[in-house]
C-alpha cells in the first residue's frame, strides 16, 4: 500500500470502509473461505444492516473487524476505520480499539455476562481498562450507563450479579457495557434474536435512542428483515460468504434487485395475504467447502439459467448507487410482495 491515503477524514467520509475482506479457516489441511471479498461501508452516525441466513458469513465478517475470531482465522483485504487499517493490526492495537472505539453486543444475553462478577465490577472494569481513573469515577460512570439503558435503581443494581437480571435486562446491561466508553461504532450481532418479541422492540428502540444521544454508527448483523426495516439506513445482503446486494433501505424494500433478496422479503410473514401459505426459499446455504465458483445462489434461485452456472458473477455497481451480484438483474423485475 504505497498510494497515499486521500480519503477525507471529514464528516462526509465513511467511518468504516471495508474493501475485499476475506476470511478463511484451515482445519485438517482443508481451507474454507467463509467470507469472500466482502465490501461495505458505514457512515458516521448511521446504521448499516448486514442480512443473511445462518452460514452466510455475516457474523464472521463483523467479528473479523475487531479480532474476535479464533486465531485459526486468516483475514485478508482492508477495513479502514477512521483512517486506521484494522486488518493486520497487532493484537495490542486491536485491544486498544475494542470496547473503546468499536464495541460489540452479542446474541446471547443470558450467557454473555460473567456470572461470577457483579454487573458493577464488569462495567467499571471495561471503563477503567480504557480510561483509567479512580474506582469511584468508574462507578459513577457505570451508574450513569445503567440509567441510560433504562435500568431502575442503577446504584443498587451495580452490586448485583447477572443472574439477578432477566434476559432483556441483561441485554441492557450488555449495551451499557458496550457503550460505556462512548464508541464511534457499535457492532450489534443479532442483539434481539434471543429475546421475546415485546422485549425485542424495546431493545431496538433503546439502541436508536442511544444512537441519537451518543452519535455512534451501528453495524447491525441480523437475519430479521423486520428489524432491518425499523432500524437501518442501508442494507447489505450476504449470501454464502459474498455480498449479493447493497441498497438504501427504502429502495431495497420497494424493489429488491437480487433474487435472494426477493426470496428473503417474500418469506416475511406479512408479505403474503392472510390465509395464504408463506413463501420460502427452497434448500439451505451450501457449506463453504461446496460453494460453487459461479453464482452461489443459482441452485436455489427460481430465475436461474445456464448463464448463472458458467462463470463467477461480478458485483455490479449500478447508476443509482446500488450494488447487485446477478447476471439477470436488468431483465428481472422483482417485488417484495407477491
Amino acid at each position: 500500500m504505497t498510494t497515499p491515503d486521500i480519503t477525507p477524514t471529514s464528516a462526509t467520509g465513511p467511518l468504516l470502509e471495508v474493501t475485499d475482506l476475506s476470511v478463511s479457516f484451515t482445519a485438517h489441511k482443508q481451507t474454507a473461505k467463509v467470507v469472500d471479498q466482502v465490501s461495505f461501508s458505514v457512515q458516521p452516525g448511521k446504521t448499516l444492516g448486514i442480512v443473511g441466513e445462518s452460514g452466510s458469513g455475516k457474523t464472521v465478517s463483523s467479528l473479523a473487524l475487531v479480532g474476535l475470531l479464533p486465531r485459526t482465522a486468516n483475514i485478508t483485504g482492508s477495513a479502514r476505520f477512521a483512517g486506521q487499517e484494522l486488518v493486520g493490526m497487532t493484537t495490542r492495537q486491536q485491544r486498544q480499539i475494542r470496547g473503546n472505539d468499536i464495541s460489540v453486543i452479542f446474541q446471547e444475553p443470558m450467557t454473555s455476562l460473567d456470572p461470577v462478577f457483579t454487573v458493577g465490577n464488569q462495567l467499571t472494569g471495561a471503563h477503567r481498562n480504557h480510561q483509567g481513573g479512580s474506582k469511584k469515577d468508574a462507578l459513577d460512570r457505570a451508574e450513569e450507563m445503567l440509567r441510560l439503558v433504562g435500568i431502575p435503581e442503577p446504584r443498587k443494581r451495580l452490586a448485583e450479579y447477572p443472574h439477578a437480571f432477566s434476559g432483556g435486562m441483561r441485554q441492557r446491561v450488555m449495551i451499557a457495557l458496550a457503550l460505556i466508553n462512548s464508541p464511534r461504532l457499535l457492532i450489534a450481532d443479532e442483539p434481539t434474536t434471543a429475546l421475546d418479541v415485546t422485549i425485542q422492540s424495546q431493545i431496538l428502540e433503546l439502541l436508536q435512542e442511544l444512537q441519537q444521544a451518543m452519535g455512534m454508527a451501528i453495524l447491525f448483523v441480523t437475519h430479521d428483515l423486520g428489524v432491518v426495516a425499523s432500524v437501518c439506513d442501508d442494507v447489505s445482503v450476504m449470501y454464502a460468504g459474498q455480498v449479493v446486494e447493497q441498497a438504501g433501505i427504502d429502495e431495497f424494500f420497494a424493489h429488491p434487485r437480487h433474487p435472494y433478496s426477493e426470496g428473503l422479503l417474500r418469506s416475511m410473514p406479512h408479505s403474503v395475504p392472510k390465509g395464504e401459505r408463506l413463501r420460502m426459499i427452497p434448500g439451505t446455504v451450501p457449506l463453504p467447502s461446496r460453494f460453487p465458483t459461479s453464482c452461489r445462489f443459482a441452485g436455489r434461485c427460481p430465475y436461474a439459467q445456464e448463464a448463472c452456472t458458467a462463470d463467477p458473477i461480478p458485483l455490479e455497481q449500478l447508476d443509482d448507487g446500488r450494488v447487485v451480484r446477478c447476471v439477470r438483474h436488468r431483465e428481472l423485475v422483482m417485488e417484495a410482495r407477491s
Binding site: 475494542r98 452479542f106 450467557t111 460473567d114 456470572p115 461470577v116 462478577f117 472494569g125 481498562n129 450479579y161
Partner: protein
C-alpha cells in the same frame, strides 16, 4: 451466608455419626483379638485371655462399648492406648503436627505446580504446550507413590548427596534443616496432587475459554492477563476446588506410606503401628480424628464454593 454455613455444620453431625459406627465396628471384622495378643499370644491360657478381656471391657456387649466410646470421642477423648497406656488424644496431638506439615506442604506443592500447568494447557487446548502437560500429568498420575519416593531418594539422597533421605527436624530447631527434610516427602506426596489439579484446571479452563462471557471480556478490550487471570480462572475454580477437597483426604491418607518411607513419626505411622499391634483404641481414635479433619476440610471447601459462585449463596 451465615445460615448457609450453619446448615452445612449441622449436616456434619449425622455424617460423623455414620463414620463413628463404621470406625468402631471395624473391630468386629478385623481378625485377631487384642486380648489374645496381650495375654501372651499363642501360649496364652484361656483364663488369662478372659482376664484381659474383662480388663479391657471387651466382655461387655458391643453397643454398650460403642456408646461409651462415642460419648467420650465427642469430647475428643479416645481413651488410652493398649500398649503405651498413654491417652490417645495426647499421642495424636504430638504426632499430628508432623503429618499436617507433610500434607500441607504437599498440597502447597500441588497448587504451586498444578495451577500454572493447568493454565498453560487450558488456555490453548491441543497446542504443543498443552500436549506436553497432558503427557507429563498422565505419567505423574500413573507413577506409584512408593516407587517415586524410592527413585527420588536414590537420585537425590544416595547418588548425589543433595537432600537427606529420611528423618524429621522440627521447624523450631532449624528452619533450613526442617525444609531440607520435608522436600522429598512433599514432592513424593504432592506429585499426584499437582497432576490432578493441573488436569482438572485444564478441563475447566478450556471450557470457560470458549464461553460467551469470555468473548465479552475480550470484546471490551481487556488484556489476556485480565481475561484469563480474573474472569476465566474464577469461573474455572469450582471443579478445581472439588479436587482440592478430595486431594486433602488423599494427602492425609497418603502420609501413611510417606511417613513410613521417610521415617517420620507422624499420625500415619501411628495408625500403621496401631494396626500391627492390634491396638484398637489407638487405631479407632486416630482414624476418627483423620475423618474429622477430612470432614472439616470439606466443609471449608463447601463454604468456598459459595464465596466463588454467587448462585450457590442464593439457594
Amino acid at each position: 451466608m451465615l445460615t448457609f454455613i450453619l446448615r452445612r455444620v449441622l449436616a456434619l453431625i449425622p455424617l460423623l455419626f455414620i463414620v463413628s459406627v463404621i470406625v468402631y465396628g471395624l473391630i468386629l471384622i478385623v481378625p485377631g483379638d487384642p486380648a489374645i495378643t496381650l495375654a501372651g499370644g499363642e501360649e496364652a491360657t484361656n483364663e488369662r485371655i478372659e482376664e484381659v478381656q474383662k480388663e479391657l471391657g471387651l466382655d461387655r456387649p458391643f453397643l454398650v462399648r460403642y456408646g461409651e466410646w462415642v460419648g467420650n470421642a465427642a469430647q475428643l477423648d479416645f481413651g488410652r492406648s493398649l500398649y503405651s497406656d498413654l491417652p490417645i488424644t495426647e499421642e495424636i496431638a504430638e504426632r499430628f503436627p508432623k503429618t499436617l506439615q507433610i500434607a500441607g506442604g504437599a498440597l502447597a506443592f500441588g497448587l504451586l505446580v498444578g495451577i500454572p500447568l493447568g493454565i498453560i494447557s487450558g488456555i490453548r487446548p491441543r497446542s504443543v504446550s498443552d500436549r506436553a502437560v497432558v503427557f507429563i500429568t498422565s505419567a505423574a498420575i500413573a507413577i506409584p507413590t512408593f516407587w517415586l519416593a524410592l527413585i527420588l531418594i536414590l537420585q537425590l539422597a544416595v547418588y548425589r548427596n543433595i537432600l537427606p533421605s529420611r528423618g524429621f527436624v522440627p521447624f523450631s530447631e532449624s528452619p533450613a534443616q526442617w525444609f531440607e527434610h520435608m522436600i522429598l516427602p512433599w514432592i513424593t506426596l504432592g506429585t499426584l496432587t499437582a497432576a490432578t489439579i493441573a488436569r482438572q484446571l485444564r478441563g475447566a479452563l478450556s471450557d470457560t475459554m470458549g464461553s460467551d462471557h469470555i468473548r465479552t471480556s475480550r470484546s471490551v478490550g481487556l488484556p489476556p492477563v485480565k481475561v484469563v487471570g480474573k474472569h476465566a480462572l474464577k469461573n474455572s475454580s469450582a471443579p478445581v476446588l472439588t479436587v482440592v477437597g478430595l486431594q486433602i483426604a488423599y494427602l492425609l491418607g497418603g502420609t501413611v506410606v510417606v511417613e513410613q518411607i521417610f521415617g517420620i513419626a507422624g499420625l500415619g505411622s501411628y495408625v500403621l503401628t496401631a494396626i500391627n499391634r492390634k491396638d484398637f483404641p489407638a487405631m479407632q481414635g486416630a482414624v476418627m480424628f483423620i475423618a474429622l479433619i477430612t470432614v472439616v476440610v470439606n466443609l471449608i471447601v463447601d463454604i468456598s464454593y459459595a464465596l466463588l459462585n454467587p448462585k450457590v449463596r442464593v439457594e
